[in-house]
Amino acid sequence: MEELTPSQNNWLKKVWFSLRIPFLAIIFALLVGAIILLVSGANPLEAYWQLFKGAFGSLRNFQRVLEKSTPLIFAGLAVALGFKAGLFNIGAQGQLLLGALMAGFVGFSLKGLPPYIHIPLGLLTGLLTGALFAGIPGLLRAYSGAHEVISTIMLNYVAINLSDYFSEGPWKDRSPGNIVSRLPAIQPSAEIPNIGPVPVGFIVAVLTALLIWFVINRTTFGFEINSVGLNPHASKYAGMRTKLLIVAAMVVSGALAGVGGAVETMGVVGRFQPGFNTGLGFDGITVALLARNNPIAVILSSLFLGAMKGGANTMQFYANVPNEIIDIIQGTMLLFVTAEMVIRWIFKLRKQQGTEITVTSGWGQR
């Protein structure tokens, strides 16, 4: 969305032009949520106020918002980077899961390491796991034409079953009294600390987003990824090695998701346990679409979703509203972001050149 037409020199206007769709989608989704709340007999203002308090009412709550935003930033970046290259990485969930699993393994099994070695090692393990696992659909896409949507969906199940196997089998927490499938707790040396209320993992996530923004907008690799996403044929004619680029984009995307899983294991959960990473990769799709694949905006949309997730239980507790309402709001938002046409039609917005994004190429376009 950076390619704005030169005639419009009022930058504020431009920011509005690129932000208006997500912004209006959020407003509209909140309105839909309010109507549903009203119909079900709750007071929407009270509910939203409690939601806000639950997210920002205390330092402890705010820390939870940051904790919940962190994996969303990584997953959102993973999906956004895929979109840039014209790839729809639905496998972020599986890549994140395996990254979380392997970081959990490195976290509990290696003993006696100092934190400044153990933590980076855990993150690196998550990164490599996610990268390798995403490499599979990347290679399949580039060299056999198997569509990544199908292969990543299927590989998500592979990831779920692999992590279940290791949590119940060879790596199971055998401590007395434990009956559930999970890995042992990670060593204290592998725990990612907090600075005040700010988890270090969140800082890493923000820095990663800035790095990805730089890579996409300021490097040859980023330019090539963009070109392949916009027009693979032209890119090929221009001499780019498109197949290699597709694999590379998937690998980097998977690496991002994998680090996200590792941060989750080492910074929040404290061990790998099935069921604790549910849906994070899929939320990454919402985040990326809401941010319109802009890495900086990914931070904002993650914070927004994280705040809703963090405040949900307070809303349920004090306003007596079932927290499924959050899912409804998130779903509605996604609907409006993807169905730009609807928003345009409702608000009679003019179409503007240069703000269009290609989410992914359709079936069989390549």
Binding site: W11, K53, F56, R60, R64, G177, N313, F317, N323, E324
Partner: protein, 354 residues
């Protein structure tokens, strides 16, 4: 240049968010946090109803799940009707919110916090250590070591099994009874069978028990009613006239199959299956149940009276009502069941290993 402006704006927005969050809100916005009531021990009768509060945190899922969450909440409500206190539940949506959800109740000064399911065990123990004076009831949470303020509610499936076995042994005419079981990978299922066989043999060592475990893994053992039905049928063909089904939905298949045969009895498991499997009314004489609801009421009462225990609390095991078969269960059999309970508690009923 424009790109840079855009990103600067984005960064400013993030910073604004961070700052906005860090500045304290107006005092009105803060929820009024009551000091947790230390112990309701010393002042029992003088209006304890106003200060006593019981909260429940579900496992990931809903409160009306026809399972542990629901049975536990029903216990809270039953105790509330009897004692008249404030009760509230919160449904957990994300497993990472266990601690935060417990904390909401702690912040509001709840006296008793009930957490449902083994998965909440760690969060419950941590919260208890941080908040002495609050009573935690952990349903299905085996306590490896005793933590003050935490009562882990667990169940003795072998005892339920013994009662079912004694009932079966007293009703059988063919001296052959059967058990259709979920996988032997799950200890509670094995314990049900150990009790069933032990109880039957305690009544009459000559009785033949045909126990069959589902051969599949965890993923199918409890969701295979066809296997349950065919296994029950096989046992019936071998002369069994009573079928005990301890296998979830697989067991329901066995119950329904047994109901197709005239004059046979079947016994359900965990909850009163008269209410959940109406198709088996023709044979369902009773169910070997875990009294989650009743045990929760007991524990809340103990907390109310200031006698809250710590460590493992073994909840009641019993047979569900006999419903249409009340008249079939003679006083003699009822007497025998009482006797069996005493004998079991005295360790006088021998249980097989499997």
């Amino acid at each position: 240049m424009k790109k840079r402006l855009y990103s600067i704006l984005a960064i400013l927005l993030v910073a604004g968010l961070l700052l906005g969050a860090c500045t304290p809100k107006e005092p009105v916005a803060e929820p009024v946090v009551e000091q947790p009531v230390e112990q309701p021990v010393e002042k029992p009768v003088e209006e304890p109803a106003k200060t006593f509060k019981v909260g429940l945190v579900t496992d990931v899922g809903v409160v009306d799940d026809k399972n542990f969450n629901q049975a536990t909440w029903e216990g809270v409500v039953a105790a509330q009707e009897e004692l008249g206190f404030e009760a509230k539940y919160i449904e957990t949506k994300d497993a990472k919110d266990y601690d935060a959800n417990i904390q909401l109740f702690v912040d509001e000064g709840f006296d008793v916090i009930v957490t449902v399911g083994f998965a909440l065990g760690e969060a419950t123990i941590n919260a208890a250590k941080a908040n002495p004076g609050v009573a935690f009831i952990g349903v299905d949470q085996f306590q490896g070591e005793e933590v003050p303020g935490v009562a882990g509610l667990i169940f003795d499936e072998a005892l339920s099994g013994v009662l079912a076995g004694v009932l079966a042994a007293n009703l059988t005419e063919s001296k052959t009874i059967a058990a259709v079981l979920g996988t032997d990978l799950v200890p509670p299922v094995v314990n049900y069978n150990r009790g069933y066989v032990g109880g039957a043999k305690w009544v009459d060592p000559e009785i033949d028990v045909i126990s069959t475990y589902h051969p599949g893994g965890m993923d199918v053992a409890f969701t295979d009613p066809e296997w349950g039905a065919s296994t029950a049928k096989q046992a019936i063909e071998q002369g069994a006239d009573i079928v005990f089904a301890a296998a979830g939905n697989t067991g329901n298949g066995a119950l329904i199959e047994t109901a197709q045969h005239e004059g046979l009895f079947c016994i359900g498991v965990d909850t009163d299956q008269w209410l959940t499997v109406p198709e088996a009314h023709k044979c369902l004489i009773s169910s070997a149940t875990k009294d989650i609801t009743l045990s929760v009421v007991e524990l809340i009462k103990l907390a109310y009276e200031g006698k809250f225990p710590a460590g493992n609390y073994v909840g009641g095991s019993s047979l569900a009502p006999f419903h249409d078969f009340e008249s079939m269960v003679t006083d003699e059999i009822r007497e025998k069941l009482k006797e069996a309970l005493e004998a079991y508690n005295a360790g006088k009923i021998e249980l097989p290993d499997k």
